[in-house]
Symmetry: C2
Subunit: 300 residues, 2 copies
Amino acid sequence: MSDRAGFATRLDSWRARVERQLAQRLDQHDPAVARLDEAMRYSTLGGGKRLRPVLVYVTGSALGAAPEALDAAAIAVEMIHVYSLVHDDLPAMDDDDLRRGRPTCHKAFDEGTAVLVGDALQALAFEVLAGNAHTAMAPAARLQQIQVLAQGIGTAGMAGGQAIDLESVGRKLDAGTLRDMHARKTGALIRASVLLGAIGAGVQEGADYEALGRFGAELGLAFQIQDDVLDVAGETGALGKTAGADAARGKPTYPSVHGLQRSIELARAHHDAAIAALGSLAGRAPDLLALADMVVDRNH
Amino acid sequence: MSDRAGFATRLDSWRARVERQLAQRLDQHDPAVARLDEAMRYSTLGGGKRLRPVLVYVTGSALGAAPEALDAAAIAVEMIHVYSLVHDDLPAMDDDDLRRGRPTCHKAFDEGTAVLVGDALQALAFEVLAGNAHTAMAPAARLQQIQVLAQGIGTAGMAGGQAIDLESVGRKLDAGTLRDMHARKTGALIRASVLLGAIGAGVQEGADYEALGRFGAELGLAFQIQDDVLDVAGETGALGKTAGADAARGKPTYPSVHGLQRSIELARAHHDAAIAALGSLAGRAPDLLALADMVVDRNH
């Protein structure tokens, strides 16, 4: 289980599973809303690192869950992630033209449709979680997944982080506020993904649950700092989105506040804190270590 | 129970309860996201007919639920309704400046914040439902409420109706498509509100549940047709939003497709169908009849 070659194969297989599950769920063909359905598929399918659903699968299966018990949570977190990208790309938010190497949803369709794509994907994520009919998932566990996800994406989490982001354009943030923004904007959903996997395996509280929550939060920070670093040091082609966009927009980022070199060190420090949080779980979940390495070693 | 004077008192009392519950839930005071919190309170508190939460309370208490068991569902459906108004008012959608007699959210705050207000209210609605800790609500019933709500607001419901609406501007819709648009855009959430009340009372399937679903769907159509009628025949002051806005925007409405007189008749016909659907429940839930009358007799 701990060899890295095996990890790459398992990663590919989880990603293929996510893709299949998403395609199946979005294959609706309701003629009255054909354009909305198409825009939802366009935004969701055929791209992305799928980090969040992979975290659901890797965490849950390390703790003994069958993949079938994890499918609903995996696609739900990815639907939420995609909805957030579609809304963040809107002209009133980041005003981005390029995402995953293709025109953003509001460019390929229109702005009103992009608003609805996000709205409908959020609703679908909760519908999928509530409807998870796998026998291993007791109603109370499904409710807990819904609560953890909802808390991770509300004002205390993703939407709150985006609000801080909106207000911070052109301003100088102190290091604490910047960290809080990243923790909410990115960390909260990554943490929720890990916890949804744990709950899917019946781990709903206790030391392992707490450790995984800390792991997810630290990993989420490492991920977002690495995103900031790549926005400065990366290339548009590899990123699939516009390099240098944050700086051009006057957005506070880790490099703008801490400098590039220190930001690279901080990404690594949060990676290390994530690993440390796992404690004895690291031995049982080696693929979480490999995922954590991937987050800070990636170039896109 | 069946006197109409008593109904007015009970209606006021349900509305006050909704207001109190919403204010309590939105009283968050998280300094990092103060502006978003304020925009959520601005959009949610101090206005509105509160029809959907009142339907939750009236349906649920007619079937024997304690109000405390219904609070979560009541504020959840209103949060969803408010989120839909905030997003529908956006420049990329209906581009409205006035709502409930005040500037719309994106006018009073900004467009990005309005997107986030809707996103965060949707998440909060599901968080509230999942977290409903009333002892009468078994986990399976809470899950069913989440499913019913999510289905009512996704592509098969509210978001789908809004997508048809977006595409229909400047076009002529046939009567069937117009009806489908209204059934999704407005009917689906009103139907969900009635069903959430029923589930809150432990009525999760069977003849009463089916009858209430039909009642809600017909009432929702009657409500939206009456809205169309008031957009033509009403006054901006009484409406709290701009009269004549649909026609100015080239939107297909019941009056534009069926004429004003026939639209008034159709609203009444769906009202009657709603009452008929109730069958023997009408005797046990007289306030549902009073609410149905209110929907077609209102002038705002």
